[in-house]
């Protein structure tokens, strides 16, 4: 598949430009190309073609000189991202270079970026949950942030649409606040998870423990193979079993013959024509040659990732938009959200020493939100709520044994004790004070202003975290788990890698950046459909909602284009 069209530099006019090729950019490319638009996809990094460029997909630990550990130089290159604990040699090449791509942490903030075709869609956790009106109505009900301009009924058909193509495995539960998706068969729980599920659900009315809903195929779909339970997803899946732009949406866009993807393209700004009252194109810097090139299009989809999209908008100034494209309200860059994370409990499970499992399941269990659903579950300590992810497995740490020598070594080769953990993901309120801005005094090596990130958890998130830990300890203890250790390791935002907001949708141009179909106020032919557009953060993982919002906006864009409204 020849993605890189060498004519890209000669041809400068397209019907549409998509900035970014991650989860939302891939969907924008697919939808626009399939509707017949000649589409230029601008990718900041290199091309990573499905299977062909998955360099590490079959590596074993001993294939690496350091068994996967990063050298001192590599650790330095990932000195910010490495704080999440994800760094290893098999995916090191897929995480952005923190030294070459600096940002300023006004307060501690982990910003994990992936600068290659597919972006973080190669690396994501694949947990996929629909949002509900509990989420879309939350701001309006408690007064934080502004009201979402859409409700569940607006997005529901688009959830179904993207789920059928992406392939989501899971089991229906019938909860109104966690609507069921269009499911492929669910993955299995192991025996300990089944046992603990029964105990937790028996003890705590209204709480459920389910297998995670994930963008992994459990049956073949559209020529993609099903999951082989290798759990080497992030390196790229040779079977195409999990959803990524590389394996799913970009090949579909390519198949139309309408897509040109241009790598090494750093978008400097979106070009706005004051007389026409709309955007006319995009200015890029070739990261390899430093050449500045302008591309023209009728519509522009900004899908660079939440903070990068906002960075581009802030850097796109004109007479009409002096403070950044779409910043009439002054809200561009504000209301940054993430999910709290790494707060929960872990312990040892007895009574299952004779059981084990086969296969490395790239999924765990999920405990849907059970607080602040209604009057009966209302808390007076915090607003909104959380869900838990977790799982059981045989682990333990032999290094902790106070023995050594022959029998220690032979025991260590046997399966370890069963352990079970849950960790909460709590909703973050949209605070105006949590913001990003351009730092014009600190330029990157392409001479571009870098981003300064100034955000921290509020008292509501901290209060939720306290309860997450208390409830986690209580649930594990009640389920008979031993040596339960409660923990709260959430020290800084960004760790959840669920950045949302900074160019929020809203009903009123005076208080929002985007309208109800993701069009920039004052630049109706520019659409922002990645995490930047989010008006609130829910407590469930956002990627599925990005997919649905993008497909919906692309449909609207082409419809408006055909009516000559753009």
């Amino acid at each position: 598949m020849a993605y890189f069209n060498i004519d890209a530099d000669k041809q400068v006019t397209y019907d549409a430009i998509v900035i970014g090729s991650g989860i939302s950019g891939g969907w924008a490319a697919k939808e626009l190309c399939e509707k017949g638009l000649k589409t230029l996809v601008l990718e900041r990094g290199r091309i990573v073609q499905h299977v062909k460029d998955y360099d590490t997909m079959n590596d074993d630990p001993w294939d690496y000189e350091l068994r996967g550990a990063l050298t001192a130089a590599e650790q330095k290159k990932h000195h910010k991202g490495g704080r999440t604990g994800w760094g290893s040699k098999d995916t090191e090449h897929l995480w952005a270079d923190d030294e070459a791509n600096p940002y300023t942490e006004v307060k501690p903030f982990m910003w994990l970026r992936a600068h290659q075709m597919g972006g973080r869609s190669m690396l994501w956790g694949k947990q996929t949950y629909r949002w509900s009106d509990l989420d879309f109505e939350a701001n309006a009900k408690d007064g934080h942030g502004v009201d979402w301009p859409i409700r569940y009924k607006d997005i529901e058909p688009w959830y179904t649409y993207v789920e059928k193509f992406a392939g989501i495995s899971g089991a229906p539960l019938g909860l109104p606040h966690l609507p069921d998706s269009h499911f492929l068969p669910p993955m299995d729980m192991n025996c300990v998870e089944k046992d603990l599920k029964a105990r937790i659900e028996k003890t705590f009315a209204g709480r459920h423990m389910i297998i995670g809903r994930v963008a992994h195929l459990t049956e073949p779909l559209n020529g993609r193979g099903k999951c082989q339970y290798r759990n080497r997803c992030s390196r790229g899946c040779p079977y195409g079993a999990y959803f990524s732009s590389n394996a799913v949406t970009l090949p579909a866009a390519h198949a139309t013959g309408n897509m040109t993807i241009r790598p090494y393209s750093i978008v400097q700004s979106i070009i706005y024509d004051d007389t026409k009252g709309k955007a006319t194109g995009v200015r890029i810097i070739d990261s390899e040659t430093n050449e500045v090139i302008e591309y023209n299009a009728k519509i522009i989809f900004c899908n660079a990732s939440a903070l990068s999209s906002t960075q581009i908008l802030l850097n796109s100034t004109s007479d009409r938009h002096p403070a950044g494209l779409g910043n009439d309200s002054g809200e561009l860059g504000h209301n940054l959200m993430d999910h709290t994370y790494r707060v929960g409990a872990i312990g040892r499970v007895e009574g299952h020493d004779d059981s084990y499992y086969k296969g490395r399941r790239p999924n765990g269990i999920y405990i849907p939100r059970y607080v602040n659903l209604d009057e009966a579950t209302k808390s007076d300590k915090f607003l909104r709520g959380w869900g838990y992810q977790g799982g059981a497995g045989r682990g333990g740490n032999p290094a902790n044994e106070t023995s050594f020598g022959a029998s220690f070594k032979d025991n260590m080769l046997k399966p370890g004790p069963w352990e079970f953990f849950i960790t909460g993901f709590a909703e973050c309120l949209p605070y105006h004070s949590n913001k990003v801005s351009l730092d014009t005094t600190s330029l990157d090596k392409w001479g571009q202003p870098t981003l300064a990130i100034d955000a921290e958890w509020g008292e509501n998130e901290l209060a939720a975290n306290r309860q997450i830990q208390i409830d986690a300890v209580e649930m594990l203890t009640a389920a008979g788990v031993k040596d339960v250790l409660g923990f709260d390791n959430q020290h800084e935002m960004g760790n959840g890698i669920h950045e949302m907001g900074t160019a929020r949708m809203g009903r009123d141009p005076k208080t929002s950046v985007l309208n109800g179909t993701n069009q920039v106020h004052g630049a109706a032919n520019v659409f922002v459909t990645d995490g930047a557009c989010m008006t609130s953060s829910s407590c469930v993982n956002p990627s599925l909602t990005y997919m649905a919002i993008t497909a919906r906006a692309a449909n609207h864009a082409v419809s408006e284009l055909n009516k000559q409204n753009l």
Partner: protein
């Protein structure tokens, strides 16, 4: 002793059901001569001898290969050479020196030169004094992780180096690169050793 030969002998010994005391004498014969037959990158020869002796005491050869059979000592030298910054490397050197100083005081010689009995005593003391690792979730320790000290940290590194070696990962643990499916409930007896990956 030639490392490759040792590995082959181990495979041959696998069927012979040799247990504790015989293995110990085998180790002693291995250790009686200075056995550094490779050139360390980061460690001094004395430090390399220390690492070899301590990982061999923690993970000796039994029916399965020991730490030295799969080059754990050589790997640790390479690991520290390439992954530690200057401060980390200086810390390791001073930790080794401190461990040896304790051994000299208690048993009259550096750890590598101690008798197997004294080496066992030294590790029993080290075990009793070392902290423990908190459990981990998704690549990071949870809760407040107190320092575990040099010995526990080295033991952990040695175990990791051992189980990620090709010999152990492929031939001793259960190597199943493409499981094909997930069965959440099987009898542990049907598997034997734990999964490798």
């Amino acid at each position: 002793m030639d490392r490759r030969k040792a590995l082959r002998q181990t495979s041959w010994l696998a069927g012979a059901a040799i247990t504790g005391p015989a293995i110990l004498s085998l180790l002693q014969s291995c250790q009686s001569a200075s056995r550094l037959d490779w050139q360390p990158t980061f460690l001094s020869n004395d430090e390399a001898e220390f690492i070899a002796a301590i990982v061999d005491t923690i993970l000796p050869r039994t029916e399965t290969p020991g730490a030295l059979d799969v080059g754990v000592d050589i790997f640790i030298d390479k690991l520290w050479a390439q992954t530690s910054d200057e401060a980390g490397q200086a810390q390791v050197r001073s930790d080794i020196a401190a461990f040896d100083a304790t051994c000299k005081q208690a048993y009259g010689s550096a750890f590598a030169k101690c008798s197997p009995e004294d080496q066992h005593k030294a590790l029993e003391v080290a075990e009793a004094n070392a902290g423990t690792f908190n459990p981990g979730v998704w690549g990071k320790a949870v809760g407040v992780q107190k320092p575990v000290g040099f010995y526990r940290s080295l033991k952990s590194t040695a175990i990791w180096a051992y189980i990620t070696s090709e010999e152990i990962g492929k031939n001793v643990l259960n190597y199943d690169p493409i499981p094909g499916g997930y069965d959440g409930c099987i009898a542990v007896d049907s598997v034997g050793n734990k999964w490798s990956l």
